[in-house]
């Protein structure tokens, strides 16, 4: 399973400046309240049970606000039949000119959770309504309508149902024991689905791990020569990532290097994003022509920690853990960690 992580970075000795920068984006804000699951199912209590979190990542889309005293025409019942005053963590999927075409996000099933970020705050909201579309919002496709109490909790000013602006949306990870343990019936289909970032899945190479050293250990091992050995029991895609990493481990780090080339080629130097993309291509997870900065990789795959691979990304940096081994730029484990250029780190 490949996921884009949004967790707190805890690597000891990570460069202080970078740590401060990244935790300001990923870290838990002061306004964060109770842990997941603390919200009452009925939405009772202060804020209607909406738990605020730090800013998430994900795709920028256009949003509007609806309901409340200045917009009585919207009523209080969503098209799902839910009373939105009782369940204020609600959104409506928009689109088209009729309710049958309200599929701006692909026609999500009711109760699909989304993490909605506005400014420095985020909250989980559930689809309980649909609505008509409209023109772009700040140049972004108009995708969802936020119930006014949810919008208020996020800090969005109430403008009698007329507010509009950009928000970020992302799917939270699948929860529950069956999903966490990889045993839910839907897991297999979900985990093998093409990642959203791979626009041309057919152009991706098949996972290839030929020639990669193997270890009987549970985690990948960094070898004395700087290369990595993959767990013998790891999936072919994971071994493919490690094999691709070994191709370029030790190459110099140069900001902007490695971009503009097909991912199948080995460049003279790499930066963080071009190197991570080369590794993902090695597993057949990106098309050969893919080229994006680090921030784009924040929405790669599914959010949350992955069983084998986790990406940590923001607009300034991206690195990844592959079978427990960190792929990063030089000195990622602290000044003088012995690494040079890009590569595997303990």
């Amino acid at each position: 399973m490949i996921v884009a992580g949004v967790g707190i970075i805890v690597a000891a000795g990570f460069a202080a400046a970078m740590l401060a920068l990244i935790t300001s984006v990923f870290g838990q804000g002061d306004e964060c309240a109770a842990p997941a699951g603390a919200a009452a199912p009925g939405g009772e209590g202060p804020g209607g049970g909406i738990v605020l979190g730090p800013a998430g990542t994900g795709q920028l889309v256009g949003a509007t606000e609806y309901g409340g005293p200045g917009d009585p025409g919207s009523g209080v019942f969503g098209s799902s039949g839910a009373n939105l005053l009782e369940l204020p963590d609600s959104y409506a999927e928009l689109g088209g000119t009729s309710f049958q075409t309200a599929t701006a996000m692909g026609g999500l099933p009711y109760l699909t959770p989304l993490r909605v970020t506005w400014g420095t705050r985020s909250a989980i909201a559930y689809k309980r309504d649909i609505g008509l579309g409209g023109g772009p919002v700040d140049g972004l496709p108009r995708a969802l309508d936020l119930w006014w109490q949810l919008a208020g909790r996020l800090g969005i000013p109430y403008e009698d149902g007329l507010w509009s602006g950009p928000v970020r949306i992302e799917r939270p990870p699948d929860a529950g024991a069956g999903n966490m343990l990889g045993q839910a019936a839907q897991s297999a289909a979900t985990e093998t689905a093409a990642p959203a970032a791979a626009e041309e899945p057919s152009a991706c190479t098949p996972a290839a791990g030929e020639g990669v050293p193997l270890t009987g250990a549970e985690h990948a091992q960094r070898l004395p020569d700087g290369l990595a050995a993959a767990p013998a029991g790891a999936p072919a895609a994971v071994q493919g990532i490690i094999a691709a990493g070994n191709q370029i481990a030790g190459k110099p780090y140069v900001l902007g290097a490695g971009h503009g080339l097909p991912l199948s080629e080995v460049a003279p130097a790499y930066d963080c994003s071009s190197s991570v993309e080369h590794l993902l291509y090695g597993a057949g997870l990106l098309p050969n022509g893919y080229d994006a900065p680090s921030g784009t990789l924040a929405s790669f795959g599914r959010p949350g920690p992955g069983r084998w691979v986790t990406l940590y990304a923001n607009p300034d940096h991206v690195f990844m853990y592959v079978a427990g081994l960190r792929w990063d730029t030089h000195n990622a484990a602290g000044a003088g960690d012995g690494s040079t250029g890009i590569g595997w780190h303990p």
Binding site: R115, L181, G182
Partner: protein, 181 residues
């Protein structure tokens, strides 16, 4: 009796002469290799019967105990919890729990994220026209101490299909467990 023994010996002797004689052997005398080539399954003896370490007096009791343990764990205990569940189950349920124990024991991200799952069994209902199969409804929350990915998610409903077996009269154990979402 003596004639029958002699016939058996000659048949085995013919079987040892190589592949060119295979067509002469009756199907009941196929070598394991020939059977494997024909059926893509190498014949092996039946496994010994499995015995669960714990059994309940009623199917619903067995399911409730199993499901409760399955959905309540944290990253530190999950592998041991799944091993215990494997010992308390038979058949597919045991195999699934052994696999879960093996995977979670080496799941670096699960440990690093401080993932935990909590929940309650809300309903257990027999599946119509499917004896010994039950529909199990749970309400679960997943939390994490080192990632905010699960923060704010409401407890969610989950459904699993459970199958029970009667290990001995009045002693019920889980023999199948398939989470559906």
């Amino acid at each position: 009796m003596r004639a029958a023994v002699a016939l058996t010996i000659s048949a085995f002797a013919a079987g040892g002469c190589g592949a060119s004689h295979e067509h002469e052997r009756p199907a009941t005398r196929q070598s394991p290799l020939a059977q494997a080539q024909a059926t893509h399954e190498y014949p092996s003896p039946s496994p010994p019967p499995q015995t669960a370490t714990a059994a309940a007096h009623a199917p619903i009791e067995a399911i409730r105990a199993f499901a409760t343990a399955y959905i309540n764990w944290d990253a530190q205990t999950v592998a041991a919890d799944m091993r215990s569940l494997a010992a308390a189950a038979v058949g597919q349920a045991r195999a699934a729990m052994i696999l879960a124990a093996a995977e979670t024991a080496g799941d670096y991200e699960l440990q690093r994220g401080g993932i935990a799952n909590r929940g309650t069994v809300e309903a257990i209902a027999p599946r119509p026209s499917r004896p010994r199969e039950f529909i199990v409804v749970t309400l679960e929350s997943t939390t994490a101490t080192n990632t905010t990915a699960y923060q704010g998610l409401r407890p969610a409903w989950h459904v699993a299909l459970a199958t029970v077996a009667e290990q001995s009269p009045g002693q019920w154990v889980l023999s199948g467990w398939q989470p559906e979402n």
